[in-house]
């Protein structure tokens, strides 16, 4: 299959309000394969492009449960099965003493899940991405806001989509080569 030489159309905006309104209108117009870029987190922007569930929390929950079970099981097995130390006849399965390491491993596994889960869900590290080909895009980490309609969107049409984006009043529009 021949790849579309155009990855998408990128429109540049100046303010957070403008990008959120533009994203809302693009989503209302029926475009679904869209994304928006901003120099800082804007809660409304993810909502505007129709992104409601980000899936990080379940990953962290699983990490935490795994950490908790690992921590407790490890201590139980070491203290009662593999290396039992009889201290004056006290119980080998001394659970109150195991609480702290269980807690610490719960936190450790959750933190690892949150960090690497977030990066993996975001598809990072990804040093190359087609949007970086647009020279103006370097301002996304400074003070500009961008909206992209990907060419893979079923409603995408080189002429009509450009006309639609222009109606949103952007600062400029560029084609993103793929």
């Amino acid at each position: 299959m021949k790849r579309d030489p155009i990855y998408g159309l990128l429109a540049e905006f100046d303010t957070p309000t403008a990008i959120v309104q533009a994203a809302e209108r693009t989503h209302e117009a029926g475009y679904r394969k869209i994304d928006a870029y901003s120099p800082f987190p804007i809660e409304e922007l993810a909502e505007a492009i129709g992104f409601h569930r980000n899936g990080v929390a379940p990953v962290v929950l699983v990490g935490g449960i795994l950490g908790c079970l690992t921590g407790y099981a490890m201590q139980w097995w070491i203290s009662t099965v593999s290396y039992p130390v009889n201290v004056g006849g006290r119980p080998l399965h001394s659970w109150p003493a195991f609480v702290i390491v269980t807690f610490e491993l719960t936190i450790l596994f959750s933190v690892l899940a949150a960090t690497f889960g977030m990066l993996a869900l975001n598809g990072l590290p990804m040093p190359y991405h087609p949007v970086f080909n647009v020279p103006r895009f370097e301002f996304v980490t400074k003070d500009k806001f961008f909206l992209i309609v990907f060419s893979s969107d079923p409603k995408y049409d080189a002429v009509k989509t450009r006309a639609f984006l222009e109606s949103l009043g952007p600062h400029s529009i560029s084609e993103v080569p793929s």
Partner: protein, 457 residues
């Protein structure tokens, strides 16, 4: 969000000086890393710190050859400087996590200007702290024996020991601090990647930023992950100093065996940590001209946290003394007498003066907002908190139950060399940090600007 100032309300300094835009914030902070020439002051400061690191390395090398006998530790005082410094450093680290995690959960937006370097401070302080127990094991090259791993000796750690709990608490804390700090840096590393003109610098920041492009989907996951990390780091930081206090509280030595230790240790940790934040913030603010972002408000808020935690510490001291009397245990009673009248009495009185009496001048607003005074009081608190750990470790151990086992502790030049060496290591790392990475979180400052607000139709 225009707030109406009633005439009765005292006027508070803003979190950011007015007149900044997204672009000016970005340029101002990133130019410290990318454009600012290297000054003689920086080179001189870094070189001094670096020389002190060499002294530490020399002392550590000698320690590796000779063993811990070169230190002043001996029975009855087996813990000495190594544990005093460990607890002191790890306590300092706690303020960084408090600022970055707890204040984030409480939506204290003023923390956005100081969280980045406070987190760096945490990381370096934990690194300094981690050195001491490892060196104190006597055979530091076998420190990995502390971790549970299958081995041919058929041996496992003893999970009923607070010292093993400490290994888990501190290593989890170090990992979490590093990841939290790095996650916070990613968007700013992308900013530096896009702002730099030097190709090599661009590649380095580009690799570190991992291709961050500020996508709304990415930000959404990022914010959730950051919030969860803050939520996880909050109980963690409280647990770390609690576990450190268990190292003492689980023992039966008078002066250690007390239930007030966990809360009083945590408060003390935050107390010394905020003092270190101020010791770093005040010169950074002066020499790097970032008074726009680290305003009088930040200094005053930090001073108020210091005052509050200092009072909790004072309460801890008072109750420790009260329980020594009220408990009716003769050894506990003797401990109280010995602290006030024994050979270490000047140290104890110094501690009370440094930690409790002098910081009370922070009740006066003029001192809270004067950088010079704050700097001096912070140094005083750092010294006071170091003395506190000295009193807890050394004075408790030096006279326990039997008079025949009493002794005195005399730190040697090697004890001092390694302690001062870690101060050098910490400073050298901070010197490098302020020039190589954005010391103020650029993207979080952007969110504080009035123009960052989305206006609804």
């Amino acid at each position: 969000m225009a707030t109406i100032q009633t005439p009765l309300e005292p006027k508070k300094a803003p979190v950011i000086e007015p007149g900044h835009s997204f672009a000016s914030v970005t340029d101002k902070i990133s130019s410290i890393v990318l454009k600012r020439p290297v000054t003689y002051g920086w080179v001189g400061g870094f070189l001094i710190a670096f020389l002190i690191v060499q002294v530490m390395l020399f002392a550590m090398g000698y320690l590796f050859i000779k063993g811990v006998g070169i230190w002043g530790v001996n029975i009855p005082i087996g813990w000495g400087f190594a544990i005093v410094n460990f607890v002191w450093w790890i306590g300092i680290g706690h303020a960084g996590t408090l600022i970055s995690a707890i204040l984030a959960l409480l939506r204290q937006s003023w923390r956005n200007s100081i969280n980045r370097f406070a987190e760096a401070m945490t990381l370096f302080a934990v690194a300094c702290a981690g050195l001491f127990p490892v060196l104190h094991t006597g055979r530091p090259w076998l420190a990995y024996w502390l971790f549970p791993y299958p081995n041919t000796m058929n041996y496992w750690p003893q999970f009923r020991s607070p010292l093993v709990w400490d290994v888990f608490a501190v290593s989890t804390y170090a990992t979490t601090s590093l990841l939290f700090w790095f996650i916070g840096l990613i968007p700013d590393l992308a900013t530096l990647r896009d702002r730099s003109t030097n190709k090599f610098v661009k590649i380095v920041f580009g690799l570190l930023a991992m291709g961050w492009r500020g996508s709304a989907r990415h930000w959404s996951r990022y914010e959730t992950a950051y919030l969860l990390l803050a939520g996880l780091a909050t109980p963690l930081v409280l647990s770390v100093h609690t576990v450190v206090s268990f190292d003492f509280a689980i023992g039966i030595v008078p002066g250690w065996h007390t239930t007030i230790f966990p809360p009083y240790f945590v408060a003390g940790a935050i107390y010394s940590g905020f003092a270190m934040v101020l010791v770093l913030a005040i010169p950074i603010r002066k020499f790097y001209d970032v008074g726009d972002f680290i305003t009088e408000r930040h200094l005053e808020n930090s001073a108020m946290v210091m005052l509050a935690t200092g009072l909790i510490v004072a309460y801890g001291y008072a109750f420790e003394a009260f329980m020594n009397w009220y408990g009716g245990n003769p050894y506990e009673g003797f401990l109280r007498w010995n602290r006030l009248h024994g050979p270490y009495a000047p140290w104890y009185l110094g501690l009370l003066f440094f930690n409790i009496i002098l910081p009370q001048i922070l009740w006066i607003r003029k001192f809270r907002t004067n950088p010079t005074w704050l700097f001096l009081i912070s140094l005083d608190v750092l010294a006071g908190m170091w003395l506190e750990r000295f009193i807890i470790v050394v004075v408790s151990l030096h006279r326990d139950f039997l008079t025949s086992s009493w002794g005195m502790y005399y730190p040697t030049r090697w004890d001092w060399a390694i302690f001062i060496g870690t101060l050098g290591m910490f400073s050298a790392a901070m010197f490098l940090f302020v020039r190589l990475l954005p010391m103020i979180s650029i993207f979080e400052i952007r969110t504080l600007l009035p123009e960052a607000e989305v206006k609804h139709k």
